[in-house]
């Protein structure tokens, strides 16, 4: 006979763990992985595998030899970081650069803050931004997608992203309608047949994964809705004011890293607010910043910076936007 266990209530627990959630996120990214493999071939697999392996290795080593705490690599959060980092780089990125990126993501952005749950910024994004600033050439030579026919080496032809084309054109004084022929069509953009980082190719694949995450309640609807909403509204206002210099909102939705950022990185647990109100504020702020950077910033793409900036505000948002307390300021009619 076993001894009885005595513990405080509750005595049942939801069948869900950190690992379970993280693997759910990885599963949600499978469609996007498949699309990237389709367009970039084995190069995509190479980047993803190396990135994941490097992230896991760095987390393990740092925990074992520097922090000397129990291992947390089983929880799968390093895998998520690894895949996200891979999603944020071109498929022909040299391996050594990728490994530096993984080190920055895990070693600097995550472990130096104390590991999972304590990091202020999204680790994958920190890694990506670090690489973008340190290796601008390698990070912005996106190979042209070549459906499946491509072999192991994919860096033969490179081309800019749709947002890059747009920005360059506008900076050269052209109007939107003049640039339009160079841009991919919406269908191409949705499927992912355009230049760009590994994982941001296909909006459809990303949304598919997002629906899975929403259905399993891995992420909540608050941040994505607020984010997409504020992007739509903000870009819509400018498009209506001046359609010759501002491209239509739909284009902004389906291009660049927006879908990836909205559903997979702005919804990161640790670096985003916890209350529903806070999440809405976070999403709206990130959307606004994204569009400001896309319209007037030096970079054609603003999702990473926008999310990182909002990450910095997360503690403040947590403090300022408390959930609605039950029984506070009640008006009973």
């Amino acid at each position: 006979m076993n001894l009885f266990t005595v513990s405080g209530s509750p005595h049942v627990h939801e069948d869900r763990s950190v690992r379970n959630l993280m693997l759910g996120v990885v599963l949600a990214m499978v469609p996007a992985i498949l699309v990237s493999v389709y367009f970039f071939g084995l190069g995509a697999i190479r980047v993803i595998l190396i990135s994941v392996a490097a992230c896991l290795l760095f987390e393990y080593l740092i925990q074992k030899y520097v922090m000397k705490t129990g291992p947390t690599i089983n929880d799968g959060s390093a895998i998520v970081t690894g895949v996200l980092l891979a999603f944020n780089v071109p498929s022909n990125l040299p391996i050594w650069i990728l490994i530096i990126g993984a080190f920055v993501s895990i070693g600097i952005a995550k472990m130096s803050f104390g590991g999972i749950g304590k990091n202020v910024f999204n680790p994958a994004l920190v890694g990506r931004v670090f690489l973008l600033i340190s290796f601008p050439v390698q990070m912005t030579s996106w190979p042209k997608p070549q459906p499946i026919t491509a072999g192991f080496v994919t860096d033969t032809v490179t081309g800019p992203t749709p947002l890059g084309i747009l920005k360059e054109g506008l900076d050269a004084g052209k109007t939107v309608s003049q640039i339009e022929p160079e841009l991919p069509s919406y269908v191409e953009a949705l499927i992912g047949n355009h230049g760009g980082s590994l994982g941001e190719m296909s909006a459809i694949a990303l949304v598919l994964g997002a629906i899975y995450m929403l259905a399993r309640r891995i992420i909540s609807w608050h941040i994505p809705t607020a984010y997409l909403g504020s992007v739509l509204i903000f870009s819509g206002i400018f498009w209506m004011i001046d359609p010759t210099h501002y491209v239509d909102p739909l284009f902004h939705l389906v291009t660049g890293g927006l879908m990836l950022g909205v559903f997979y990185m702005a919804t990161d647990y640790t670096s985003t607010p916890m209350s529903a109100k806070g999440m809405l504020v976070f999403g709206a702020g990130a959307g606004l910043l994204t569009m400001i950077i896309r319209f007037w910033g030096a970079y054609p793409e603003g999702v990473s910076f926008a999310i990182l900036i909002m990450n910095a505000f997360t503690p403040l948002i947590n403090r300022a936007f408390k959930p609605k307390r039950f029984g506070e300021d009640v008006k009973n009619g």
Binding site: L3, F4, T5, V6, S7, G8
Partner: protein, 335 residues
């Protein structure tokens, strides 16, 4: 070029002078006049800020001393008599010599003595377990062994012995600040005088249940039999709520009580071992058993009383009692 350098030097110097002047006036305006003796007293205090004196920190204690102009009821347990004497001579005051105290854990409910009956699963907080249930051994007064006392100690003086499951107090490090006494939700720890040559005798139990139920949960519980009270030649032991307590001020450390305790609940600290007398059968006479401690230099012992069931009762006055106890003892093991 030179102009720039000269201008820069001049403007920065002017800025510096202006700031100095402002600072000077501000400092004058907001000057806090404080008794310089507070600082001096503060210097003499150990600076541990433990709160053992009853004040929030050393500084507050120093302020109180200077303000009261008296050292009555003022004692810094960390600095001890030395510090207090120095403070007294500084302020020209009198100070009474204080007894040196030490924290004493009044529970011996180790894994062996008080075996687990239920498993506790929850945060490592004695207070939480105390609020939740009676504890894994079932003793409602016994040590829970989750280390709230360890957490509270600022002096590295109390540790849980993981082989025994109860805390040990370091003879050397304990300054008797009383933090662990406060922290223990079951009031097991108390401050007692360190005693002559660091020798102490105390009842290592705070269980107030009647003998049977107490013994059922723990083999070394005080069962309130009163033998020690009768034995003590100095009236130092009192019995209240089925629990014997030794008054350290009356106790003359004669060591007569411990051998009569049928459960071995009275512990002796830092005495030499009793030697079995020659010619006597060993089972007749209690033999000291030393408790193995890990984190302290204290030598804790209790005289192991020979089992009365195995031979004719050595003391004729309570044969029924002892029989009953051996029964409940067996019952406890079965349960």
């Amino acid at each position: 070029m030179n102009d720039i350098v000269i201008n820069a030097v001049l403007s920065l110097s002017a800025l510096g002078v202006a700031a100095a002047v402002i600072l000077y006036f501000v400092a004058q305006r907001f000057k806090v006049i404080e008794d310089p003796r507070i600082d001096q007293v503060n210097e003499l205090l150990p600076g541990a800020n433990c709160g053992g004196c009853g004040y929030a920190g050393c500084r507050q204690f120093a302020e109180a001393i200077v303000k009261n102009e008296s050292l009555e009821d003022m004692n810094c347990p960390v600095g001890g008599d030395e510090s207090m004497k120095e403070i007294a001579s500084l302020l020209g005051l009198e100070v009474e010599e204080q007894l040196k105290m030490i924290a004493v854990v009044r529970c011996n409910g180790t894994f062996n003595n008080a075996p687990e009956k239920v498993q506790y699963d929850g945060p490592a907080s004695c207070e939480f377990e105390h609020n939740l249930a009676a504890g894994s051994s079932g003793c409602p007064n016994g040590c829970l062994g989750l280390g709230d006392c360890v957490e509270s100690c600022n002096f590295d003086a109390i540790y849980i012995n993981d082989e025994r499951g109860i805390p040990e107090v370091s003879e050397k490090n304990c300054v008797a600040c009383g933090a662990c006494v406060e922290a223990c939700p079951r009031n097991i720890i108390e401050l007692r005088p360190k005693g002559k040559k660091d020798r102490r005798v105390f009842v290592s139990c705070v269980n107030t249940e009647k003998g049977g139920p107490a013994k059922k949960n723990c083999s070394v519980a005080c069962i309130g039999c009163g033998k020690c009270v009768k034995t003590c030649p100095f009236d130092a032991i009192t019995m209240e709520n089925n629990l014997a307590t030794i008054d350290p001020e009356k106790c003359k450390l004669c060591r007569k009580c411990a051998p009569v305790c049928p459960t071995g609940a009275i512990l002796e600290a830092n005495f030499p071992m009793r030697k079995p007398k020659e010619g006597q059968e060993q089972s007749d006479k209690p033999v000291d058993k030393q408790i193995e401690l890990k984190h302290t230099t204290t030598v804790l012992m209790y005289p192991e009383v020979p089992k009365p069931a195995k031979k004719a009762a050595p003391k004729k006055d309570t044969p029924n009692d002892t029989q009953k106890q051996s029964k409940t003892d067996q019952g406890g093991k079965e349960a």
